[in-house]
Structures are given as structure tokens and as C-alpha cells.
């Protein structure tokens, strides 16, 4: 029988439990752990967005940081120069990413394969280099800081300079993103994306306009990447050309693949395993990247489906006995 049919319920329960715990411990956490968790939640959104593109519709992009940077500046610049409120700022960032997602996607999705990666690298580098040289707009390498407006819900106003507020703010978006994307992937449209991943030609022969669906995946990925970028700008109260860095594009790839691409929970696991190493090992050993490097090599030696794949095959093995 399909063992994977049990998995969603199992991982769903695990996640629900994890969320409850995260909600409960918010004010009790030590500051550094809270800080780490905020980063994990924001980067998880970024990694899940990449997974929609690569794990679910088989489009390998090495340029997702383009939208991360757009999301970050998309909220920073309006707030800095026009004093918009927080929600408007986030909305502007998202709309900006959708527009660029449609534009850039239209050009690149058509091509597919090797050309697709190359184009994503090109536009990532172009945005990065422009951000680096247009210091009047972006602050270049040094970047820009901004005052984060408070989160207002009706009559209530919460300052995001309060770390606990910042924590719950990230948590809400993280959970919401996961739920939305999980639902999306289980929907009829999600099924079509999976079919495209499995056999693009047959998906077309079965009556689907493959280009349209791949473009949709691209835009959704851009949207959530932009959300992550905006949340990160809020968290750091800062954005710089580095937010467009192609290295950041590479990190999304690493997180999603190491965790397990095409599972939506894999990217979260990837982020949750690698970032603590940076935080906790990094403080006392300068060369912590060696551990991460070994991790990358060893996990993929074991299973191309990443850590999720490793866990699944252990479970299957146990069941076989």
C-alpha cells in the first residue's frame, strides 16, 4: 500500500505539534535561540518557494535571490521614502515580485532546461551588479537602514523592535505560508505541476498548457521568495546589495535539496539543520563550513531525496523487516 499516504498525516501531526510548541515558548526563549528560530522561519519560506519551482515543477533556477532582494527593497524603499505603513509595504513588495516574476518568468520559462538556469543566473547577476552600483537607490554594498513601522491590527499596535513581537510576526507568516503552499500542492493545480515534473511531454498530451502552469509556479515562487525577503528586511531593519547575491540563490538550492526536494517539508528541515550549525558551531569554530560541506556530500551520497529520503528509507527498511 502507499506508505506515503500515511506520511502527510504523520508529518502534519508533527508540524502541528511543533507549531504549538513554538507558539507556547515564544516569550520564554533565550534571545539567541529566538533569533535563530526567526531566521529559520523566514528562510524556510524562501526554501519552500524554491521547492515549488524545482521540486514540484522541475525548473532549476540559480537566481531566486533576485526576488529576495526585490522583496527586501520592495518594503524598505516605500517605508523609507514615503512612510507607508507595514502592511502596505509588504503588499508593495509582493506586488513588485509578482510583476517581475511574470516578466522574467515569461522570458525564461519558455526556454527551459539549461537555458533556463543560465537566464536566471544572468538576471540575478544583473540585479546584483545594478544594486551594487546604484548606490543612490540601494546603498550598494553598505546598504540602507530603515525604521520599521509598527504592526497595527485595528486599534492595537505592536512594535517590531520587540524581539518577542518579531518572533510571533515571523511565526504567523511561516505557518500561513506553509499551510497555503501545502494546500496548493494538494490541489488539482498542484497535481498538474507534479505531472509536469514527472513527464512534461505527457502532461502536454493530456491536455495541459504546460507553459502556463510552469509560469504560474515561477510567479508563486517569486511571490513567496519576495515575502521572505521583506520579512528579512523587517527583521534586520536593513537591506543591501548582498540581498541579491547569487550566493543566497545557492543557499535556497542547498536547503531544499539537502532537506528533500519536492516534499515542501524537506526545505524546512534543510534550513532547520544547517542554520543551527552556523549559529552554534560557528561561534566557537571558525571553520564550521567544513561540517556543512561534509553534511552536503554525505547526505547526497545516501539519498538524492535528501534527509527526508534518508528518513523514508529507514522507515521502509524497518517495515520490511
Amino acid at each position: 500500500m502507499a506508505k506515503y499516504r500515511l506520511k502527510p498525516t504523520l508529518s502534519g501531526c508533527m508540524l502541528a505539534t511543533a507549531v504549538v510548541i513554538l507558539v507556547a515558548v515564544g516569550p520564554l526563549l533565550p534571545a539567541s535561540l529566538r533569533s535563530l528560530l526567526i531566521d529559520i522561519m523566514i528562510f524556510s519560506i524562501y526554501a519552500m518557494a524554491f521547492d515549488i519551482l524545482f521540486g514540484y515543477s522541475n525548473q532549476f533556477s540559480y537566481g531566486q535571490a533576485t526576488f529576495f532582494g526585490l522583496g527586501a527593497y520592495g518594503i524598505l524603499l516605500p517605508v523609507l521614502h514615503a512612510g507607508v505603513n507595514l502592511w502596505t509595504g509588504i503588499l508593495i513588495a509582493l506586488v513588485l515580485c509578482v510583476i517581475f516574476g511574470l516578466g522574467l518568468g515569461f522570458l525564461s520559462v519558455r526556454l527551459g532546461g539549461a537555458y533556463f538556469v543560465i537566464i536566471t543566473i544572468i538576471f540575478n547577476m544583473v540585479f546584483y551588479l545594478l544594486a551594487l552600483s546604484w548606490t543612490w537607490l540601494t546603498g550598494g554594498d553598505d546598504g540602507l537602514t530603515f525604521t520599521v513601522p509598527p504592526a497595527t491590527i485595528g486599534p492595537l499596535s505592536f512594535s517590531l523592535y520587540n524581539p518577542v513581537v518579531n518572533y510571533y510576526f515571523a511565526l504567523v507568516f511561516f505557518v500561513a505560508s506553509y499551510v497555503v503552499l501545502r494546500r496548493f500542492v494538494a490541489s488539482p493545480i498542484g497535481k498538474i505541476l507534479i505531472a509536469i515534473r514527472e513527464n512534461e511531454e505527457r502532461a502536454s498530451l493530456v491536455g495541459y498548457n504546460v507553459f502556463r502552469y510552469k509560469l504560474l509556479a515561477f510567479v508563486i515562487s517569486a511571490l513567496f521568495t519576495g515575502l521572505a525577503g521583506a520579512l528579512y528586511a523587517i527583521r534586520t531593519r536593513y537591506a543591501s546589495a548582498d540581498y541579491f547575491s547569487i550566493i543566497l540563490s545557492g543557499e535556497a538550492i542547498v536547503w531544499a535539496i539537502i532537506g528533500g526536494s519536492g516534499t515542501l517539508i524537506g526545505p524546512i528541515i534543510g534550513v532547520a539543520i544547517i542554520n543551527p550549525i552556523i549559529y552554534y558551531v560557528g561561534v566557537f569554530w571558525r571553520h564550521y563550513l567544513i561540517i556543512i560541506g561534509l553534511l552536503l556530500i554525505l547526505v547526497l551520497r545516501f539519498s538524492t531525496k535528501g534527509i527526508v529520503g534518508v528518513v523514508k528509507s529507514r522507515l521502509a527498511g524497518r517495515r520490511a523487516r
Binding site: F54, F60, Y62, L111, A114, Y115, V117, I118, I119, I121, I122, M125, V126, L129, L132, S133, G250, I253, V254, I257, I258, R286, H287, L289, I290, I292, G293, L294, L295, L296, I297, L300, R301, T304
Partner: protein, 292 residues
């Protein structure tokens, strides 16, 4: 405006020759990358770090033996052998799946950079010029070492060509690149070819780094600037085309070099990107067709 006259001409010639010298070195590195991708679909993010390792090991070789060229040979050989280990140990499970090779080679890159940082240190080191003669011609005083490097690179490229097209090993490599199944059926040990090709690609990168070490500074992050350039060249030349890689290197490197007379290096790199985009718009497969 652009000043003409004797001074400008000599500066122009200087950077132009620089560009060609650099093109030959970069061609070695880019060819290595092209092989590795062409045969095994490996997108080697660590390629720049193999170049860096070549430079670092040459530094140590020079310190140990007092002879620069011995250092170059040792560095190239060591990295070649390391390449075999990397292919067998880390890359075998993901060959043929470009996205996954990215992750594995990022891991390799982290390890190489950190090991060098730990052992060699984090400050860039200048290497002494192994051939401190200055050659004068056409009013240009040009460092003799760079001409020598260009010569050595040229010889290396010729040797590579000879290896590929005139030896049986080269035949096996080309055959396996074109049709893996057939090559297997004809008794060619595909696994050994893979290991050998990766070793060759790594050795080429290291050779490039070794030869470049007196010109640029030896630094554990040497790969950053080079890797993007090498990828541009391989893509413009046409993925999998060796002729294309050479031609692209000989166009782009001198171009970038000359551009630095007028614009900053960052802007020169932007221009290279625009050239790449322009070429791809007209010919999406790159300048030359792959022989795959």
C-alpha cells in the same frame, strides 16, 4: 574623452596583451569545467577553488623545493589525484543530475576554502616573480613572466589537444562524451573515464591557478572573481564545445581587460554579461555547437 597618443597606445597594448595572457590561463580553467560538465553533467561550483588550490600548492611547492616550475608540476599532479578522489567519493552518486551536483560541489568548495584558510591563512600572499625579466617592444615594457606563462599555457593547450585527438585515451573520453551506452558496450570502462576526466578537469584548473599565482595574489577566496568569468566563457562558447570555450576566452578576456581602461572592473564584468546575453539572444546554444 579618450586621449590618444604614445602614452595611451602603450597602455592600451599593455592591457591588451594582459588580456590575451589572461585568456590563455582562463582557457585552461574553462576547458576543465567544460569537460566535467560535458561528460558528467556536473556543474562544478568548486572549480574556482581547485584553481585556488593549484596556486596555494604551488606556493608551498616553491617554498619546499625552491623551484617554481617544480611547484607547478606538483600542484597540478596533487590536484589531479584529488580529483579522482572527489569524483569517486562525492560526485558519483549525483552525476547526471546538475542541480544535485551544485549542492555537492558547494560542499566541496566550503571544505577546500576552509582547509586552505586554516593552513595557509586568510591574508593574500604575493608570490615572487620566477622570471623577473622585462621585455620591451613597441614602446611597451612588459613583464617577461607573463609572456612565459602565455607560452606555457599555449603548450599546455596544445598538449591537451594532442591528448584528446591523437591518443586512445582521448578517443575514449570523446566517445564516452558522445554516447555513453555505446562506449560501455565497446568495452570502455566508463567509470574510469569519469574519474580520469574529472581528474583532468581538476588538473587543468590547478594548472591555471599555478601559472596565475605570480600574477594575481594567492588568496583562499581567489575563486570568486574567476568562477563567474569561467562560467560566462563556457556558456558563450557553447556548453560542451572545446573550440567554443577557447574562442570565447580569446574574445572576452581581452575585451574585459581593455574595458578597464575606461570603466571599473565591476562595470567591465557587467559588459561581459551583456555580451553573453547578446550572444545567447542570437545563438542560444552558444557560439559553437557541442560535439555531444
Amino acid at each position: 574623452m579618450v586621449p590618444l597618443g604614445a602614452e595611451f597606445t602603450s597602455r592600451f597594448l599593455f592591457v591588451l596583451i594582459n588580456g590575451f595572457v589572461w585568456a590563455l590561463i582562463v582557457a585552461l580553467v574553462a576547458l576543465g569545467l567544460s569537460f566535467i560538465f560535458g561528460l558528467m553533467d556536473i556543474v562544478n561550483i568548486a572549480h574556482g577553488d581547485l584553481y585556488m588550490l593549484g596556486a596555494v600548492l604551488t606556493w608551498y611547492g616553491l617554498a619546499a623545493t625552491g623551484n617554481f616550475w617544480l611547484g607547478v608540476i606538483l600542484a597540478t599532479a596533487v590536484v589531479g589525484v584529488l580529483g579522482i578522489g572527489l569524483e569517486r567519493g562525492a560526485l558519483r552518486p549525483v552525476e547526471g543530475m546538475p542541480a544535485y551536483t551544485v549542492v555537492v560541489t558547494i560542499g566541496i568548495s566550503y571544505i577546500l576554502q576552509q582547509v586552505v584558510l586554516a593552513v595557509f591563512g586568510g591574508s593574500p600572499q604575493k608570490m615572487s616573480d620566477p622570471f623577473p625579466m622585462v621585455i620591451e617592444f613597441l614602446g611597451v615594457r612588459y613583464p617577461g613572466y607573463r609572456i612565459l606563462v602565455a607560452g606555457v599555457s599555449g603548450i599546455a593547450l596544445l598538449a591537451l589537444w594532442f591528448l584528446l585527438f591523437k591518443t586512445s585515451v582521448g578517443l575514449w573520453i570523446r566517445a564516452t562524451m558522445q554516447d555513453r551506452e555505446m562506449a560501455n558496450a565497446m568495452g570502455i570502462s566508463v567509470n574510469n573515464i569519469y574519474a580520469m576526466t574529472f581528474a583532468l578537469g581538476a588538473a587543468l584548473a590547478a594548472l591555471g591557478g599555478a601559472l596565475a599565482s605570480p600574477i594575481v595574489q594567492v588568496f583562499y577566496l581567489m575563486s570568486y572573481d574567476l568562477l563567474v568569468l569561467v562560467f560566462i566563457i563556457v556558456i558563450v562558447g557553447g556548453l560542451g564545445s572545446l573550440k567554443g570555450t577557447m574562442v570565447a576566452a580569446l574574445i572576452i578576456c581581452p575585451l574585459e581587460s581593455v574595458m578597464t581602461l575606461f570603466v571599473t572592473p565591476t562595470e567591465a564584468r557587467v559588459i561581459s554579461f551583456l555580451v553573453m546575453a547578446a550572444v545567447l539572444l542570437v545563438r542560444p546554444q552558444g557560439l559553437f555547437k557541442a560535439w555531444r
